[in-house]
Amino acid sequence: MNSSKKLGLLLITPAAIVVVMLFLVPVVLTAVFAFTNMSTSTGISGGAYQISPNALQELRDHYDMPSVAERLSQSGFAVDEPGLAALGKAGIDADIVTELRGHIGETFAARRDAERAIRNLNHRPSLREVKQISDQFNRSIMNARYDSKAALLAAVASVMPNLSGAEHQAIIAASYTGWTWTTGNFRRMASIPGTQRSLVNTMVYVAFTLTLFNIGFAMVLAITTFYMPSRAAGFFRGVWLLPRISPPVIYVLLWKWLAWDTGFLSVFLGRFGIHSRNWMLDSGTNAWVFVVLINGFVGASMGMLIFSSALQAIPRPLLYASEVDGASRWQQIWHIIMPQLRWPILFVTCYQTLSLLTSFDLILLSTNGGPGGSTEVWALATYHTALNNYAGNLEYGYGAAMALVLVVVGVFLSLAYLRLFNYRDLVAKPLIEH
């Protein structure tokens, strides 16, 4: 390997590391999570075995074992020989154990009763000892947590010794609290009405923002400033960069002040007798207008910068020659400028499609998907599913499945764009050199 190649590898290493860490690893993890039922209640790092109310329901409904469920759900405390033996091992004072021996055979239905009796022993065990003792006499496994199958089965055997192997397997499956592999997320996605709606919303969002602003308006800005004196052009480009450099929360807050029912629009229109209203959330169409404007004003600046610099690279003699030939501005734009901008347009289209597909921050801050889900785009719905639940149960697995769809769509679109814009030709070696 020659040294320039080595240098090349060296230079690309940091970028490669970033790509792997920030793109490949998350994508792989998303793909893995997408095939699980992972949620807050299952946890991410694995589970345990617990005879919870849910597990009992599972035994009743899916394994047809109502009598087993009934027995497992019973609570009870019993002072017995094995319990006393365990106390000795646990280091409980021998006098207390001796005194407890006098109570052998006694049973208690509830923890409270059992602990009351233990607390009233002549030796007055401390709270910690009371808990240790009651644990040893607890003959119920309801809600107890076991780290391994063996521990669970041992506990089950202590209350129901004669279960079959199949019944053991059922109890293991029903009581497992962690996540399991499943394709259910995709079935669920295909069957719920919200899916189609989010898809359509996403298409509307990307199509309008991209064509109207990220390409269309960006091109208008680039071309108009191209024909301006450089000082004025610099000023206007600076103005259109402001939305991008403002902190998003403040930027959206300004829009809210403009659009809300106590905001500028309502106050201004109120002078003409128009009733004040929340213009942003008044109807689905209103919300879309604001969502596209809010995102478009930020997005337009990137296209503007790229197109402007590409315009500077067009050889001036071409433009002078066309003017000598009597071409109008419009003809210049159409026949000289646009053909030269094919590569930047491809780049901005590709880049912005992908970034719009996954961006939801400004929508979250402005309409939060409202009114009534009409601006809930796919990425926002993914966020709401995976990281937002009023009752504390975040659905990571289902959220990842939704995110995976975005990854697939993104990769597919990138390939389609490369083909559409004839990428091979664009990167072909110029015939003049070599």
Binding site: S39, T40, S41, T42, G43, I44, S45, A48, Q50, S52, P53, N54, L56, Q57, D61, S75, R111, R112, E115, R116, R119, L127, R128, V130, K131, M142, N143, R145, T177, R187, R188, S191, I192, P193, G194, W260, D261, R277, N278, L281, D282, S283, G284, T367, N368, G370, P371, G372, G373, S374, H384, L387, N388, N389, Y390, A391, G392, N393, L394, E395
Partner: protein, 451 residues
């Protein structure tokens, strides 16, 4: 006789003993406590743990243990970011020791092993636990096991602006009798729409301000489902219940309110700050809020004569199938799982001490929440407060709570999405209910009873 060097040696040994004994019994513990949905008036949710730490330190000192407890407090004003932060920190193994959150989190967090049953660490017979209302203890339990201790209680009543009621022909006596009328089922949600309409026709409130409910998602909306006879779960089966007819009537009530022009179509999403100011200054006629709003109305919003300007009642019945009701959504102190058992014991003790009626009364009065324990009404600070006294008597006996069920969050999301889409006119009530049903069937299967 001991010589000097002997004396010195003895002293040195004694000093060393003292130092090592001190080292053996001195203990520095840092307890972190996080609370969700906790604004400035709810500060005692966290401060109570700090007060408890002071008391526990003194108790330990009397038993010869030099225990110092540092309490690190963190309040999250909202719920979403709090639940995100907590679940993710638990996955990262950096969860706080004590969490104050809604009781509905118990089921999913118990399954994931994030929290442990507090009954393994405290004596259920001891003061003040033996004085806490049994129904609240029930709400803090899951599968018959006590996971947390109730931190507060509240309720989500209807409020009426008295001058506006007068403007549409109510006498003072009629307004005073209104809560009883609601309780008897003689004043229903249909009457709410009528009166709201009348207020707007009279011009005392602007269009869309006749009936002004909570502007964002919350447990409050389950009350309307219950007003139309809906049940959230079937405790016998241990399953959630989706009552299509009741849910449809509940959605239709809001669609009707929009059609009648008394509630705005775009009401959801109104900033809460704006909403508070509006309802506390008579811009709305009838609204639905929370008992703790009293602190905000009379404090930050500057409402001087609350009882002279506002009446409050249960949420009226929607129809014959339903009953007037209200919902209590207690916050519970939960104990998170850690490897350091001794530290968990200290955290549990702090929760226990913080439940002391006198300490809890500080929170109740500061934030206008309701008592968790019977003896709290014997504390003058609490019993002399007209709001807590009247709200407790008028509302708490009729309060229900949401079920502790790990799948309730999925159901709740579906309910809310459906309501929002019907309310804003994106779907008809029938479409919304049909979509709810499809989504519930595919996401919860037989974990929910659909009828």
């Amino acid at each position: 006789m001991m010589d000097m060097s002997g004396q010195w040696r003895a002293l040195a040994v004694a000093a060393m003993l003292a130092v090592s004994a001190g080292a053996a019994s001195a203990k520095d513990v840092t307890i972190t406590v996080w609370a969700g949905g906790t604004g400035p008036t709810d500060a005692y949710r966290l401060d109570a743990i700090e007060i408890a730490a002071g008391l526990l330190t003194r108790e330990a000192a009397l038993q010869g243990e030099a225990l110092t407890i540092k309490v690190e407090k963190r309040a999250y004003p909202g719920w979403d970011d709090f639940k995100q932060a907590l679940t993710l920190s638990a996955e990262a193994g950096t969860a706080p020791d004590i969490v104050a959150s809604g009781h509905e989190d118990i089921a999913p967090w118990a399954q994931s092993g994030l929290i442990v049953p507090i009954e393994s660490y405290i004596d259920l017979d001891s003061w003040p636990i033996n004085d806490i209302y049994p129904n609240l203890m029930q709400i803090a339990s899951y599968g018959g096991v006590l996971y947390g201790l109730p931190q507060d209680a509240e309720s989500r009543p209807f409020f009426f602006w008295r001058p506006h009621l007068k403007a549409i022909g109510y006498s003072d006596a009629e307004i005073d009798a209104l809560p009883a009328k609601v309780k008897a089922g003689a004043y229903t949600l249909a009457n709410v729409l009528d009166d709201a309409r009348k207020m707007q026709d009279k011009g005392v409130v602007k269009p869309g301000y006749g009936f002004y409910p909570r502007p964002l998602n919350g447990p409050d909306y389950w009350q309307f489902y219950r007003s139309f006879g809906g049940e959230m779960d079937d405790p016998k089966l241990g399953k959630l219940v989706f009552d299509k007819a009741a849910m449809g009537r509940f959605y239709k009530f809001f669609v009707d309110a929009v059609a009648a022009g008394v509630t705005r179509k775009n009401h959801i999403g109104t900033p809460f700050d704006q909403w508070y100011t509006e309802v506390a200054t008579g811009k709305a006629g009838i609204w639905q809020g929370g008992t703790w709003h009293y602190a905000r109305y009379t404090g930050q919003e500057g409402l001087k004569d609350f009882f002279g300007t506002v009446q409050f009642s249960l949420v009226p019945a929607g129809d014959k199938a339903g009953k007037p009701n209200t919902l209590t959504h207690p916050i519970v102190y939960l104990l998170t799982k850690h490897n350091d058992k001794a530290k968990m014991e200290i955290a549990a003790k702090l929760i226990e001490i913080a439940s002391e009626p006198r300490i809890n009364a500080l929170h109740a009065i500061r934030s206008a929440h309701l008592a968790i324990a019977k003896q709290e009404s014997n504390i003058p600070l609490y019993s002399n407060d007209r709001w807590t006294r009247e709200a407790t008597a008028r509302l708490l006996p009729f309060a229900n709570a949401m079920p502790n069920n790990p799948n309730f969050g999925v159901y709740w999301n579906v309910m809310w999405k459906g309501l929002e889409s019907a309310w804003t006119g994106q779907k008809t009530v029938e479409e919304a209910i049909a979509d709810d049903e499809t989504e519930l069937r595919s996401s919860l299967g037989d974990k929910i009873v659909i009828r």
